[in-house]
């Protein structure tokens, strides 16, 4: 089955981790999708929205809607950005015309792992990675999109990979956008609690969100840990 | 404008034109449990909470048992509710144990070691005793002493909380008593480091006598 997929790279993916976006595209193509990338895209508007600047967020969200409303399916390597798109109807609740367009776009916006499993019915993407991997349930994916089993199913099918249960798997990593820089000590304390469950059995801590991984990686590197932070797409693209 | 009119006015103005979602129909739970199942569940929950439950044959046996428990407790003063049949306790109370009536002075009641009362209903699923103040004067006797002995007819043991709420509401909709109290186990606290301490202000121990045949005199 071939699905046309409009890739939403996310602003962080585009600018900081192009390899994650490329891995996302590679896995989708391997799963039989025709992947397009519209270079007019920028950001989902979440940073401004979460900071209270809804007018500024709306301007960016409108652009997103215009760019993506002709797509069949929009797939992003991020639960958080996808959840933001799902919030557009709320953002435009007082503007009926935009609200309707936002609903249409939200309806076809998918997070990468759940798109593979729920929409394509794929769990084995032919990946191989010899590593012991612990999973971080990124909050917005977990609680707003209900993403929980999908990435685990995908990881279970990776050859050589051992999934290690993490006691603090569902705990927030403390990123929270500008929260991480408004309250750096608090944000880090939350992260350190999360990381306190890591032990020598773990080589890789993985998630569906690059923003969480930026927070996690930054701290692991600062602490000189040998544990690597990898996006799910990077694992699934490994052969 | 007085406070009542100001507050109600503000609420009314604020809600002008507001649409209210429908109120769900009352959904009183019930469970078709046999007497044996109700006794078993009630007992299991009480035991988990630190309560003791035993079944006695009839009211006379209950009074005899109470007498024995008062003796075992070494009770000097016992506070009794005004349930008429508790008069039978006097026949079995140990020598030297003073029995206080429900209308005894407050200071005396505060000195009681044991409180003896009936309960109007029990709830099997939650291990709860329901005390209705209109049926019996037991508010103080069930609260002040360190040990609370409760007598409950087995036929008053209901299945669920829903059945209890139905029973507690009279035909006209008003509660059957001005004071209705649920008691589920002994008094407890976990306010210090979440460590369980049983018996902080209310009774430290709860002992329930289920009366199998309540028709006895």
């Amino acid at each position: 089955m071939s699905r046309k997929v409009a890739l939403f790279a996310t602003c962080l993916g585009d600018q900081l981790w192009p390899e994650v976006v490329q891995a996302t595209a590679d896995v989708l193509q391997r799963a039989g999708c025709v992947v397009t990338f519209d270079p007019a895209q920028t950001c989902c508007a979440q940073p401004a929205f979460n900071s209270g600047y809804q007018q500024e967020a709306k301007a960016v969200a409108r652009r997103f809607v215009e760019i993506f409303e002709r797509a069949d399916a929009i797939v992003a390597p991020s639960g958080s950005c996808t959840a933001m798109v799902h919030r557009y109807p709320h953002l435009f609740r007082d503007e009926p015309a935009w609200r309707a367009r936002a609903e249409a776009v939200a309806h076809k916006a998918f997070e990468f792992s759940s798109f593979l499993v729920r929409e394509l019915g794929v769990t084995d993407v032919g990946a191989t990675l010899r590593a012991r991997v612990a999973w971080h349930d990124a909050c917005h994916g977990l609680r707003e999109l209900g993403v929980h089993d999908e990435p685990r199913a995908l990881l279970a099918a990776v050859r050589g990979l051992e999934l290690v249960d993490l006691r603090t798997g569902e705990a927030c990593c403390g990123f929270g956008g500008t929260f991480a820089v408004k309250f750096p000590e608090l944000s880090t304390a939350m992260l350190d609690h999360k990381l306190s469950a890591l032990d020598e059995r773990v080589d890789v801590l993985s998630a569906i969100d690059s923003s969480c991984l930026m927070q996690i990686r930054g701290r692991l590197q600062r602490r000189g840990s040998r544990v690597r932070a990898l996006h799910l797409a990077e694992i699934l693209a490994s052969t | 404008m007085n406070a009542r009119d100001a507050i109600l006015g503000a609420v009314r103005d604020g809600l002008r034109g507001a649409s209210a979602p429908p109120l769900p129909e009352p959904n009183a739970t019930s469970a078709p449990l046999s007497i044996e199942e109700r006794i078993a569940r009630f007992t299991a929950v009480q035991q988990k909470l630190g309560g003791v439950v035993e079944v006695v044959a009839d009211r006379r046996a209950a009074c005899a048992r109470i007498g024995l428990l008062l003796a075992r407790q070494g009770a000097a003063v016992a506070a009794l509710s005004d349930a008429p049949w508790l008069a039978g306790v006097a026949d079995y109370a140990p020598v030297g144990c003073e029995l206080l009536a429900a209308d005894a002075a407050r200071e005396r009641l505060l000195q009681a070691d044991v409180g003896v009362t009936g309960a109007q209903w029990g709830v099997a699923e939650t291990g709860t005793l329901v005390l209705a103040s209109a049926a019996e004067r037991h508010r103080l006797a069930s609260l002040l002493p360190a040990l609370h002995l409760v007598v409950l007819p087995v036929r008053s043991l209901l299945g669920t909380l829903g059945e209890a709420f139905a029973a507690m509401q009279g035909a006209a909709g008003a509660p059957v008593a001005r004071t209705l109290t649920f008691v589920t186990g002994p008094s407890r606290t976990a306010d210090i480091e979440l460590t369980l301490v049983v018996g902080v202000h209310g009774p430290k121990a709860l002992h329930v006598l289920l009366v199998a045949d309540d028709d006895a005199k």
Binding site: Q15, L16, P18, Q29, P39, Q41, T42, A45, A48, N50, S51, Y53, Q55, A57, H90, C139, R143, G174, F179, V181, F183, P184, L186, S187, A189, H193, G218, R219, R222 | A3, A6, I7, L8, A10, L15, P22, N27, L49, L110, S133, R139, L140, L143, L161, G162, F165, M168, R178, T179, F182, G185, S187, R188, T189, D191, I192, E193, V197, V200, H201
Partner: protein, 476 residues
């Protein structure tokens, strides 16, 4: 800890994090509660239906609050209760002070109640030399220590048993002990004397039943039963949002509240009081003080109204990673944690508490555990919007209030961000500039947010080439 204000949340949080005893105690407590809650709701197959039902009952009641309040008052008065109305904290305190003064009450006891904390009733009564003795063990400890509660359900959650033991040695002159059994036994003895002598008892109200005029007070220790039974006068302070339509609705809420709060299937005691008890076993007088104090304003706001559905179970505190890390005092408000972060700014106003909605990573754990399904993250986001845009007009034609979060540089930054981000050309140009900028020595030290990031974490760098500049088109 007790002089903390919401305005200084960031500094409060730093102070809390530096206290290893506090953070250790908090983590143990919130973990324990979360585990107990999970076990308790695991045994209820229809948990989600119960939540949906409770949320629907609350939504309905709040949207018809005037009707249900009038019904509640009529039935409570019919049963012989005296109902008083208080627009704000001052009025509420004045009512209780007057009641106590008119009866010459000398010895007051009080059971745990968030509403009385909210109006600072103890301090008001203390002005007349009538400060009530707190009788809930945790509240009593806090009162002895001269502190404020740090948790809705477990007020002394921040104190270790050793600290409480030292407090008892200091204030009560008992031999040293850190055994909770010994400490609780001491409390039982000491508070008995207060109960015996009390002439006026003050409680809160968990639920007020419109249909019957009944108030329900829920507890574990028996101190609320003492407080509402022994003194000749009982004064119950009740927020106007506590009313529910029917007596039978109590069942739904009793199934939800204890499981969410302490993980119990039911707390030990529920007292359901319908007017004073004519059997002479309880107080001769029952007074209900209905408290507005900002609630009627919240009712009027369609989106924010759900804030008032809260049944004060404390589950959102225990589930919140921010609360787990710093506890309740850092919020600087009577209501801490996620519920405090949405309730306090609405009760007190954004001027004093406008920081609290920002004190969240928006992880959503609070919404997941809320027994009445309050969408706390959405309300946090809305309050953030109001902090930067100003509050909506209070009435049609009235002016909207000014933003409380007046940070011109921040606002300018977001306007600039929005202008850049809605054009791919400007976005490309800005990222190219950033790529150049990050090569400059000290660049990371110059930019405030990056400096904050780097205080604890390594910062990422922009990739040499963005994805958009590498994309070669779809593979066919």
């Amino acid at each position: 800890m007790n002089s903390m204000r919401p305005e200084t949340f960031a500094a409060n949080a730093r102070e809390a994090l530096a206290d290893a005893t506090l953070t250790g105690a908090l983590r143990r407590a919130t973990d324990t509660f979360a585990d107990r809650r999970a076990a308790a709701i695991g045994a209820v197959p229809d948990w989600q239906e119960l939540r949906t039902r409770a949320a629907a009952i609350k939504a309905h009641t709040l949207a018809r609050l005037d009707h249900y309040l009038e019904q509640f008052v009529a039935n409570a008065e019919k049963a012989g209760a005296v109902v008083h109305w208080a627009r704000d904290a001052n009025e509420a305190c004045a009512i209780v002070r007057d009641l106590a003064a008119a009866r010459g009450s000398k010895r007051l006891v009080k059971s745990k109640s968030m509403a009385t904390e909210e109006i600072h009733l103890n301090a008001a009564l203390a002005q007349d030399g009538r400060e009530p003795v707190e009788t809930d063990l945790g509240e009593w400890i806090i009162q002895l220590a001269g502190e404020t509660p740090s948790h809705i359900i477990v007020p002394a959650i921040h104190k270790t048993k050793e600290q409480i033991g030292e407090l008892f040695v200091d204030k009560l002159g008992i031999p040293p002990s850190s055994d909770p059994q010994v400490l609780a036994a001491e409390a039982r003895t000491r508070l008995r004397a207060h109960f015996a002598a009390a002439d006026l008892g003050i409680s809160g109200v968990n639920f007020g039943v419109a249909e019957t005029g009944t108030i329900l007070v829920l507890e574990n220790e028996g101190n609320a039963r003492m407080t509402t039974t022994l003194p000749a006068v009982h004064v119950a302070v009740m927020g106007i949002e506590k009313v529910i339509p029917r007596f039978a609705d109590l069942e739904t809420f009793l199934r939800l509240l204890p499981r969410s709060g302490t993980g119990q299937h039911l707390t030990t005691y529920q007292s359901m009081l319908t007017g004073p008890d004519p059997t002479g076993q309880g107080p001769r007088e029952l007074h209900v003080v209905l408290l507005d104090n900002g609630r009627s304003r919240i009712v009027a706001d369609e989106l924010m109204r759900q804030t008032l559905a809260c049944i004060r179970c404390g589950a959102c505190l225990n589930a919140c990673p921010v609360y787990q890390s710093i506890g309740g005092h850092a919020y600087g408000s009577v209501y801490p944690g996620p519920i405090g972060a949405i309730l306090t700014p609405q009760l007190q106003g954004m001027h004093s508490a406008g920081t609290l909605p920002f004190a969240s990573s928006l992880c959503g754990a609070c919404k997941d555990v809320c027994p009445v399904k309050i969408d706390i993250p959405t309300l946090l986001l809305e309050l953030r919007r109001r902090a930067v845009e100003g509050e909506p007009a209070a009435a049609p034609g009235a002016p909207a209030s000014l933003p409380t979060r007046r940070k011109p540089l921040e606002a300018l930054g977001w306007r600039l961000w929005s202008w850049v981000t809605r054009s791919p050309a400007r976005f490309r140009a800005a990222s190219a500039l950033t790529r150049l900028g990050q090569k400059l020595p000290f660049a990371k030290q110059l930019f405030g947010p990056l400096r904050a990031w780097q205080s604890t974490r390594n910062a990422p760098e922009l990739a040499k080439r963005s994805f958009r500049s590498q994309w070669r088109g779809p593979v066919r």
